[in-house]
Symmetry: C2
Subunit: 340 residues, 2 copies
């Protein structure tokens, strides 16, 4: 998939002449198996200094037990660059892809703002009396005022600038009374500053139910790291599966600050090398990156051709087609190229 | 809804002569508003000593800010009686209720074993520098070897005794590396003792996706407290909503030990007193309780009539009917009564 993403990017660089310098980095399982390194400090710093955006391929290789390399790289970027907003659009591009009775593509169009630097992902905690019958294992869900406020604010700012009328915050404050009392309190404070936007609070369990009952009710959802992870995989099911879901990890809209773009899917080892995996999530991710870099029309163009590909069956089996990875990808690339 | 549950129970006690002594307890918002008590110790002890089962009505009243009374009672019973298995069947009783394209009621039939005494629900944690820009708020997800093992074992025992061939464990061990490494390790140990049952491990985010893509693949799901909460609300969407979902909270199958039965839904204040809420979750909960007390045929009878009610439109609006709460409930009660 990553190869296909690069080919599409090459079209933009070479044919359309977009001024994008590409630096291909050898990070991942091969590197780890060769020399044991995952995400060396000097590479981390060089990216931060030199790059506007990182396009991350699918990570995770079963040859590496525990997938340490994948986490080092992914969390190394998310945390290391303080990319606090994981922006995950949940948008169905074709009616065919929507698995819900009585719903069409137009009913699935919301964006999840997932907090990306805190919560249970900080890794705090430990194991006590490990391996004995008395073992206790703890992970801590850590939230800061600053972290909670900036992601909630980012969601409201996005809603305002995109003409959305509703922001939904999801937590579990009825059970996580320390951590999510903070979320609820900050949410009430921030929403008061966006009086033109209606906003509401739901418990995450109820959110999952409501999303299935009627996804069209949602426009912008803001939530913590863990719930954002869960809700966006659920959302991927509304888009046609993980083969269709793209995402951005950004610090803010400050130009020049590095951002990270990745498909929501991981590496799917059983599919690797078989020319069957769906390349569209990777191609849509290229689109999101181009929009971030200043070419929003190109994101729309890619989306439009993905929709056509699905509607005409020029796609992989998981989304109702018969093509292999490369054929689906080059069909789309040819169409995009012919328009440039 | 609780009134309707009681009326159905009365049919069983009075008409069918089932030897059930009923003790009606004044717990809930009215009591709390009257004298400020929620779940007095002497009541807690008396229940434990005297009762085989508790049938809990819908809790939560907007007149009580923070809903302290609801949590005191619910968590007081779950934790106080060590009811470690929250058993939540996700079973669609009519094709009409299934919201997924191409799926019928037969495709939605699995049981979630939700750990019910640990995890993020223990309430450990706190807030530091509260109200300042430097505030930190933490909840701890606490897991013990004993707690994890007994719920996983309960799921496998259930699978074995019910002829199921697959158990799925869901965690987030790729992010919660202390807490869920324990879950994964114990899962591998326990599964080795049930070699006739195939079992697998999925991350909770992927589980939500897979459930929407094909719920028929799942038979028994075991997971922690928080994920069980989320997955069963998602599951409720497959059953026709919260108006259709029943649950049991049990310590184990030891006879004589008190167990707690409750609809998955809360109190839904906007519906209260309007004769529009769906009574079937409460009636199905009566069925689960009767099965636990030794009359499994009565659970099947109630389920069978709920299915008929839905198919014939003798039900509330949320599940496609036109009746009010009382009319739907008495239609069902009359059918059950006529068979006894
Ligand atoms: C691979 C995993 C640690 C990651 C996450 O949980 O964030 C993934 O599920 C995602 O959503 O990007
Ligand atoms: C009311 C709430 C605390 C409760 C929970 O989270 O356990 C409810 O959602 C449930 O599923 O029983």
């Amino acid at each position: 998939m990553t190869r296909e993403a690069k080919l599409l990017l090459d079209v933009y660089r070479e044919k359309a002449g977009l001024p994008i310098d590409l630096w291909e980095l050898d990070l991942g399982a091969d590197r780890y198996l060769r020399d044991g390194t995952t995400f060396p400090k000097e590479i981390q710093i060089a990216i931060q200094r030199e790059c506007s955006a990182v396009l991350l391929g699918a990570l995770g290789d079963p040859r590496v037990p525990g997938l340490e390399h994948a986490r080092d790289i992914l969390f190394g970027m998310r945390f290391g660059y303080d990319l606090y907003a994981n922006v995950r659009p949940v948008k169905a591009l074709s009616d065919k892809l929507v698995p819900l009775k009585g719903r069409a593509a137009k009913d699935v169009d919301f964006v999840v703002f997932r907090e990306n630097t805190e919560g249970i992902y900080v890794g705090m905690g430990g194991q006590f009396k490990r391996g004995t019958p008395d073992e206790v294992a703890i992970n801590e869900d850590v939230n800061t005022r600053k972290g909670v406020e900036r992601i909630i604010r980012a969601a409201f700012e996005y809603a305002r600038s995109h003409g959305h009328t509703r922001v939904t915050m999801a937590d579990k404050s009825n059970a996580m009374r320390h951590a999510h009392e903070l979320w609820l309190r900050v949410f009430h404070e921030v929403r008061a500053q966006y009086s033109e936007i209606s906003s509401d609070h739901v418990y995450v369990d109820a959110l999952c139910l409501y999303l299935i009952q009627d996804p069209s009710k949602f426009q912008v959802i803001v939530t913590n790291n863990l719930f954002g992870d869960i809700v966006t995989d659920l959302g991927a099911a509304f888009q046609g599966g993980l083969g269709m879901a793209a995402s951005a990890n950004v610090h803010s809209s400050e130009p020049g600050r590095v951002a990270l773009f990745e498909p929501v899917h991981g590496s799917a080892p059983p599919l690797a090398g078989k020319d069957i995996a769906n390349p569209f999530a990777a191609l849509l991710t290229v689109g999101m990156m181009l929009a971030h870099l200043g070419w929003p029309d190109e994101e729309k163009r890619i989306e439009r051709w993905v929709t056509r590909a699905i509607d005409e069956g020029q796609c992989t089996v998981d989304v109702g087609g018969t093509l292999g990875t490369q054929a689906a990808s080059s069909w789309l690339r040819d169409r995009v190229t012919s328009e440039l």
